[in-house]
Amino acid sequence: MQQERSSQTPKQPLQVRKSQTDLSAWRKGRTTNGEKSVQNHQSPDGQKNDSEQGSFEQALSYFKKVPDRVSLRKNTALQKSLAAVETIALQRGLPPEGFHVLLKVALSGKLADAVNARLLKCLVPASVVPEGAVVSAVSLLCVSKCSSNVQLLFIRWLITMFDYIDSKEQLHALYAVFFHLLQDEKMCPYVCHLLYLLTRKENVKPFRVRRLLELQAKMGMQCHLQALLSLYKLFCPELVTITLPGKTKNFFKNSEGPWKAAMNTVRQRNFPVHQPLLLGTAQPQSRKRKWNAQLIVPASSTSRNNLEENRGSHVDLYSTSQSFPVEQLQTFPQLLHNIHRLEFPSQMASVLTNPLLLHYMNCVKDESVYLRLHFWMSQALQEECTWCVADNHQNEEEFKIFLETIYKTECFLQEGFSSCEEFLYKSLPLWDGVCCQSQVLKLVSWIPLRSFSGMKSQLYDPLAQLFFTSSLYFKCGVLESLTELLQNWLNCHMFCPDSESESQVHSLDTTLSGLLNALAELINFVGRISTAALRLERKSSFLLHFILSFYETVCDIYLRYNLPLLILPPAGIFYPALLSMSPVILNQLCYLMYRYRTNLVAAKKNELSKKKSLQFKISSQTYREYNQYVIAMVGCLWTSNVFQKDTHPQGLRMDEELLKATAVQDYKTSFNIVYHPAMIGYAVQFLQQAFPDEATLNFSLIKGKRWNWYLEFLYAQGLEGLKAFIESSINRVSRAPHGKAEDHESEDRV
């Protein structure tokens, strides 16, 4: 199966080689399996097996000394032996030692062609084919004792079993012998295939190239020659070149026909769960395009930069025969084994679709690698951008895929590309916010952290314009992407605090104050657009959720990322969230306030413990603001005095006169965890469970002990944020029935 595949795509010749199963492991497995199966099998079956084994051994010793020219029809011993071998081979496969004997007989020409063919057809290995047997078979082949049909069948067998040969060093030494067989017109297609499997760089010689070209001239365009020549080109681009026609799919004739069924049977028996391990990144190449509009990421191909070195004028240290062509890189182990002799592809852009090369790129510190990618990508992005280039709308799907590829690469490398960043700066002002929406927003999240002043006009202004004029969903998308952006910046700071090594074209200002300014600028920007968006979208809970998710990252910066930066959400976000009708939002807000508290307390402690004045510390304004918020929250959720105590200039404080004028009864108690519009649903549910017989709901029953039960009930509903907030920020005095809230922080007077 694997061979068939490999023979179709000459660009990945190593699929054959790498796909070899670990035979030694299998052999062990097989013996134990065998023992088990013998035990488990019913005895008659076991006996049958034994007798088959016996007759097989007899058959082998018969074939060892079979006399010349025995006729099958007349000789019962031969008939019996042949049958015994076939039975074993087609069911269980042959043991390694069988191949010596059977190959020798089949190719020695002692028996009739029909018998030789039958013998070859049953050469199915149970585990491996020993290399020695193959080598001696090849020597027999060369003395031409057998007919051409048998020779052909043998070559086909060799191709089919190539993966099962236990070692191939001696076979490689026979390269010239196989190459010589090319002149046989009938065998040529199969020999090409075999050479394709065997060829290494050192086999590619000018005289062989010439010989192949002669064959090409004689026979015309032949798939098998094309495949072999393209492999030669791969190894030695300075000797030969070829452009493969796009449409060919099968370069080689199928060789495994006679053995396919038997191989499957044996494989299924010996490898109960056989899964072909194919990690190839082969992707369909799409149709023709203009030559210089190469949105199609180029295929990996070996660098031609060794072209000059082959002129032999100087000794090159990185001997070209040592380098490992990237086309052959298919698996991670291969990468590990060849990492010292791997070369980047001639077109760097091909790494975008090759995760293995991305791994390699990650560990190579070479500026030119990034520069090559940078030049290519910035041109490709500009040329293919569907909203910057007139009449380019039909390519939107492709452009989407391209942007998606870049995004995935950035995620893989955990690093934004500067070419992509520049592209965004240039194209965002022209963007309609619809075309490739999700891709563009994803790419925004990988804009590298820079503290240059242009960020506002390059990114924030165009983004804000789109933000205010687009739908609710677009707004949420922008917020999500900015949340990612903030996280990426923070992570980037965490994992590479000193980016001196990063000698990029545009080095980033990595001083702490620069970093803090850039972060604060982003957070304040999100605060501003969120405040406005909440008004525009009538305080949509959906939008609030995205806004608060952003602040979930913001509130933990001090502790999680060890940066002296704490920015509270503006009142325009805090109050809509506090008065939201949705318990989810209220719960999220409680969690945020709890985390802010934890961070502020830690910051306070740190500042007190280090006597000397720190260069960066949290401003007292932040503490004050937090305390105002906490007072409002506690008043709103617990002490029912939000109207009296909320001191925030945009807060809920109201004069008693005014409140009376509203004619609302019990306005004092209208905000606490029972009456808050987001919570009243829970209160109803609680009352229904606690007093199932009561016809009317009497909320005033929830007090004292029941208040505590109600709290437990709320916690059991999954309001973890609320729990954390109440437990951290409300100091309950055990004897007081309602507990007593404290605006906990004394820091506000610092």
Binding site: V209, L212, L213, Q216, M221, L225, Q226, L229, S230, Y232, K233, P237, E238, L239, V240, T241, I242, T243, L244, G246, T248, K290, W291, N292, A293, Q294, P298, S301, R304, N305, L307, E308, R311, S346, Q347, M348, E367, S368, L371, R372, F375, W376, Q379, A380, Q382, E383, C388, V389, A390, D391, N392, Y425, K426, S427, L430, F452, G454, Q458, V505, H506
Partner: protein
């Protein structure tokens, strides 16, 4: 394509005195041809460079988002006085070249030009006969010559221009006849001023590529260079703004008696059928006008270019009641060179070759930046 075809030009009478615009007898109106030419303007590039760049949409940005200069130095004096062999570049004249921008070439080396020629010629043969392998180094139908044009550069920092020529081998029987040139293209960099900054040694900056010949050969040669030196070719369109710069700069050049009329071609947008307006001006009149406009010593400013064009527009409006400012400038022809917005150019004067190339290099660099 309008490339290479000079539209029929009416007589270009002396009408423009420069200092003042007098009403002229109707018969002496400026040459105008309202030709219903179909011009293929579907260029696969940005409508103008300005749209994608920040700040003044023109010129070379210094630094990341730095300012581009609003002025340019005066075109260098004709190079005939210098010790440059004009013959060596004469073959570049009077051909219409298609312009491309090219990102820096990776691992390109002047020492291997012959080798590149061998590889490229085999590549061309393989591309033309897909599926047939070609041995490298043998004689093929199409011969490739890659050579260096050491004179073609602006400063010592510039890399010498590289010329690629495809020659069709004459049949073996007639050995006397020479190989026929079927396609040529060249890379160059005139006063690239060390762009981009701190480019590692492995890169060679030749940002401008000019091709003349069948597009199919351009594509084969271009893709070979892209594959081999990991670069990116992109068509280089010339924005109307750049064209007006060219019109002004080239008007100001001293040409002597041989000067031919300056012709500007405008295309009227949003019409069911393409309509082109050709505006021809006697070179001396144009020069006179320019001399009254150009005041800044040593350089030309954007403002001066705008004034120059506005004067031409208002004169045209006086006679024809057509606002040329509402149309798109698509082509400029002078005795120095002729340029089309689709990104083609024809050089007409050897001594101004490097001057024009300098401007084009600048445009190419701003496209790959």
């Amino acid at each position: 394509m309008a490339a290479g075809v000079t539209p029929p030009r009416r007589a270009a009478p002396r009408w423009l005195t420069g200092r003042q615009f007098k009403r002229r007898p109707a018969g002496a109106a400026p040459g105008l041809s309202l030709a219903m030419e179909s011009v293929d303007v579907a260029v696969r590039t940005l409508p103008s460079i300005g749209r994608l760049s920040r700040g003044p949409p023109f010129g070379r940005a210094h630094g990341r988002f730095g300012f581009s200069p609003s002025g340019r130095p005066l075109p260098p004096a004709p190079r005939s006085e210098e010790n440059v062999d004009l013959q060596s570049t004469a073959f570049l004249l009077h051909k219409r070249w298609t312009l491309y921008s090219v990102t820096p070439l990776y691992k390109f080396s002047d020492a291997h030009l012959r080798n590149y020629a061998r590889l490229l010629s085999a590549f061309i043969a393989a591309e033309k006969q897909k599926g047939l392998a070609v041995e490298i180094g043998i004689e093929l139908d199409i011969k490739v010559a890659v050579s260096s044009l050491p004179d073609l550069k602006g400063s010592d920092q510039d890399h010498a221009a590289i010329l690629v020529q495809l020659l069709s081998r004459s049949p073996a029987s007639s050995k006397s006849s020479e190989d026929k040139l079927i396609w040529s293209g060249w890379f160059c960099c005139v006063s690239g001023d060390g762009f981009p900054e701190n480019l590692p040694e492995d890169f060679t900056c030749l940002p401008l590529f000019l091709a003349n010949g069948a597009e199919s050969y351009t594509s084969i040669v271009g893709s070979w260079f892209q594959k081999t030196f990991d670069c990116y070719f992109r068509r280089l369109a010339i924005s109307p703004l750049s064209l007006s710069w060219m019109a002004a700069m080239w008007t100001g050049c001293k040409m002597g008696k041989t000067a031919s009329a300056i012709e500007l071609i405008f295309s009227v947008p949003s019409l069911p059928q393409p309509l082109d307006i050709s505006y021809a001006i006697h070179p001396e009149d144009a020069k006179a006008l320019w001399d009254t406009v150009q005041k800044t010593p040593g350089e030309i400013t954007q403002e001066e270019v705008d004034i120059f064009m506005d004067c031409l527009y208002s004169h045209f409006h006086r006679h024809f009641k057509i606002h040329l400012s509402a149309t798109k400038l698509v082509k400029v022809s002078t005795s120095i060179a002729s340029a089309h917005c689709e990104g083609t150019i024809k050089f007409l004067q050897s001594q101004y070759l490097t001057g024009v190339l300098m401007l084009l290099t600048e445009l190419a660099i701003s496209q790959i930046q």
